[in-house]
Each structure stands twice: as structure tokens, then as C-alpha cells.
């Protein structure tokens, strides 16, 4: 195949397609957690305030018997008050499209985590973006895309897009991700990146 260009330094172009901050080479790994045993929560703490945006990338599966868990409950700075709202738009493998929302919630409930009822070795994939997380004057918006596929036409699992609002102007310095109903299984992986 004819090539006119190789190895272009196009990091900004690639990241910018998902609408986040763009700058060549400014995507930094802050912390990566690969679960060595089941765990109900994953926490990133002492997050530096030196970036403009954060992105969490994960593969995950939980210990329940369902094909799909609602997924991830996000809490910031250990705040479990009813300071969160969320919207979700998602589809099942069977073709059912659903939109729902919650207000004054104790967490941002975001899609989506593969359930233990899926075929073995299948994990969900997700990204979550938080723009201007270090602001001390703005509430914080979370955007997620995630879910999985199980090679069926069943009522689940699901895949979709989520948004969440944390009604706080505090800078985010810790993020706790909790499995909604069960535990994350061994091998679930969560990586936190900063974008400057």
C-alpha cells in the first residue's frame, strides 16, 4: 500500500477526536491499578492538580451472576452526600435503547461493567473524562463511554454513554470507583491519565 507519511507526531489529533484537551505528547500516566484479587473499590488518591483534564481507562468484570452490572459508582474526594446527578443512553445487544437519569444521588452511576454471567474472559471497556478537574470555581462534569459485547442478541449486556455531575467547586484530588453491586474481579484494570 502506498504511504506518504509515517510516524507523524499526531498525538493532539488523536486525543482531540474525543473532545478533550489537545496538546502533542501531553498525555501522562499518573497511576495504573491491575487488581490482583477481587475488590469492591478502586481509589486514586493524591491526584496532582497540575493537569487540565483527567482520563480513566479501564477493563473490568464483576463477581456477580448477571451479564451486566450497572457498573461504576464514582465518588470524588470521599464525598458520599447526595451531590451527584447522571444521565445514561445505552443499548442492549438485543436492540433495546434506553435513556435514564438520576438527580441528588450519592454517586455518579456510569456504564458499564461486564457481569460474571458473561462468557469467560470477557471484560467491559470504558473511558471516563473529567475536564477542568482542578478548578475551584466550577462544578465537575464526568463523561463516560463503556460497556461490552458477548456475541449474543440478548437483553444484555449493554453499551452506551454516560454523563455525571458532581455539584462541588472543590478541586478533585481523589476518585473512588465502586462496583455497583458486587466486586471487581482479578485482572480488572484501571489507569488514570492526566492531560496537560
Amino acid at each position: 500500500m502506498p504511504l506518504l507519511q509515517t510516524k507523524a507526531d499526531a498525538s493532539a489529533w488523536g486525543y482531540g477526536f474525543l473532545g478533550a484537551t489537545t496538546s502533542t505528547g501531553n498525555f501522562f500516566l499518573i497511576s495504573k491499578q491491575v487488581l490482583g484479587s477481587t475488590s469492591a473499590t478502586v481509589t486514586f488518591s493524591s491526584i496532582p492538580n497540575t493537569y487540565k483534564s483527567l482520563q480513566i481507562r479501564s477493563i473490568a468484570r464483576d463477581s456477580g451472576s448477571n451479564s451486566q452490572d450497572i457498573g461504576f459508582a464514582f465518588n470524588f474526594n470521599s464525598d458520599t452526600g447526595n451531590n451527584y446527578t447522571w444521565h445514561r443512553l445505552y443499548t442492549s445487544e438485543g436492540g433495546t435503547i434506553t435513556a435514564n437519569a438520576g438527580s441528588s444521588q450519592p454517586a455518579n452511576y456510569m456504564w458499564g461493567c461486564a457481569g460474571g454471567g458473561l462468557a469467560s474472559n470477557i471484560f467491559s471497556a470504558s473511558t471516563y473524562d473529567i475536564i477542568d478537574y482542578a478548578s475551584t470555581s466550577k462544578n465537575k462534569t464526568l463523561r463516560g463511554i463503556g460497556g461490552t459485547n458477548n456475541n449474543t442478541s440478548s437483553a444484555n449486556p449493554f453499551f452506551g454513554i454516560s454523563s455525571g455531575l458532581w455539584m462541588s467547586t472543590s478541586a478533585i484530588n481523589s476518585i473512588t470507583i465502586t462496583d455497583y453491586t458486587n466486586n471487581f474481579v482479578t485482572g480488572s484494570t484501571f489507569a488514570l491519565y492526566g492531560v496537560s
Binding site: 500500500m1 502506498p2 507523524a8 477526536f17 501522562f28 435503547i97 462468557a119 449474543t152 453499551f159
Partner: protein, 164 residues
């Protein structure tokens, strides 16, 4: 400062029409991959992706589409590729934009990826979200983009593979 990542592995800009775009010998040193494509095609068609030259029925996908006033959902099972279009299609004149995120591509789990795509042709077009599964625990060392109908990507189509 933390470790910089999001590294362009390779970019391919087509100097002539081609039926496929392949990235091979992908190093296993990253956590995830992102493939970004902007393309026009010889005939309106649907973009598909295959890994490691596997053309067996090891792929499946769920697609959520908005094209005008309606939302639609469909799925494919035991397919020979991950289909990235449902009702949307590429254009012969207007570039369409894709990003495909492949998670834990070098790991030992089955491989889940998702894609976003956008196209608009002043009266038609779509936005789509796709989640795709490759039922293989092999590390991904090759990614190939094709068109479902066997048509060609046009001159000037650009694909870049990033390691994250």
C-alpha cells in the same frame, strides 16, 4: 511529572486508492491502542476492522446510531469482522471520522474495543457508538481496516495508530 504516553506508532496516508489499511508488527508495550481514521471511499460503504488477519467468525458488535430523528440499535454475532457502521456509511466526497479504542490489546483476555464515528453530508449522516468483541486471547499484533462491500479507501484517507 508522570510518564508521558499516547505515542503515535504509525500514520498511513493513502497515495492511491486501497482496499485495506493495515498496521502490523504492533509492539506489545502499551496498555491500550487507539486508531484514528478519516476517510472517503470509492463507493458509500461500511468500515470494518479485523485483528491478526483473523477472518473467521470470531467477532461481534453492538451499534448505537443516530441518523436524523431516530436512534437505532443493532448487533452482529459470529461475524468475520467488527462492523463499525449500522445505518451510517462513508461518503465519496465528505471525510468521515472514526476513533477506535482497543483495550488491553496485549493481554490474555478476549479483546473488547469501542469506536465512535461521525459523518455529515448536509442532509444525511450519522453519529455512531460501537462496542466490538474479538473472541481471542491472543495479543493483537496487527489491525486491518477494510470496507464491508470490498470497495476502496480513497486517496488522502489517513489512519494513525497510537499506543497508550
Amino acid at each position: 511529572m508522570a510518564t508521558a504516553t499516547f505515542v503515535p506508532i504509525a500514520t498511513q496516508t493513502l497515495g492511491s486508492a486501497a482496499a485495506s489499511i493495515t498496521f502490523s508488527s504492533i509492539p506489545g508495550t502499551y496498555t491500550d491502542l487507539r486508531l484514528v481514521l478519516t476517510c472517503t471511499t470509492s463507493v458509500a460503504d461500511s468500515v470494518i476492522v479485523q485483528y491478526n488477519a483473523d477472518t473467521a467468525t470470531n467477532y461481534s458488535a453492538t451499534l448505537l446510531t443516530g441518523s436524523g430523528a431516530a436512534a437505532a440499535s443493532t448487533s452482529t454475532t459470529s461475524a468475520t469482522s467488527i462492523r463499525l457502521h449500522n445505518v451510517g456509511q462513508t461518503s465519496t466526497t465528505v471525510p468521515e471520522t472514526f476513533s477506535l479504542d482497543v483495550f488491553s490489546y496485549a493481554g490474555s483476555t478476549n479483546k473488547t474495543a469501542f469506536a465512535t464515528s461521525a459523518t455529515d453530508t448536509n442532509g444525511a449522516g450519522s453519529v455512531e457508538l460501537t462496542v466490538g468483541l474479538w473472541r481471542s486471547t491472543s495479543a493483537i499484533t496487527q489491525v486491518t481496516l477494510k470496507l464491508l462491500g470490498g470497495n476502496n479507501f480513497a486517496i488522502g484517507s489517513i489512519a494513525t495508530l497510537f499506543g497508550i
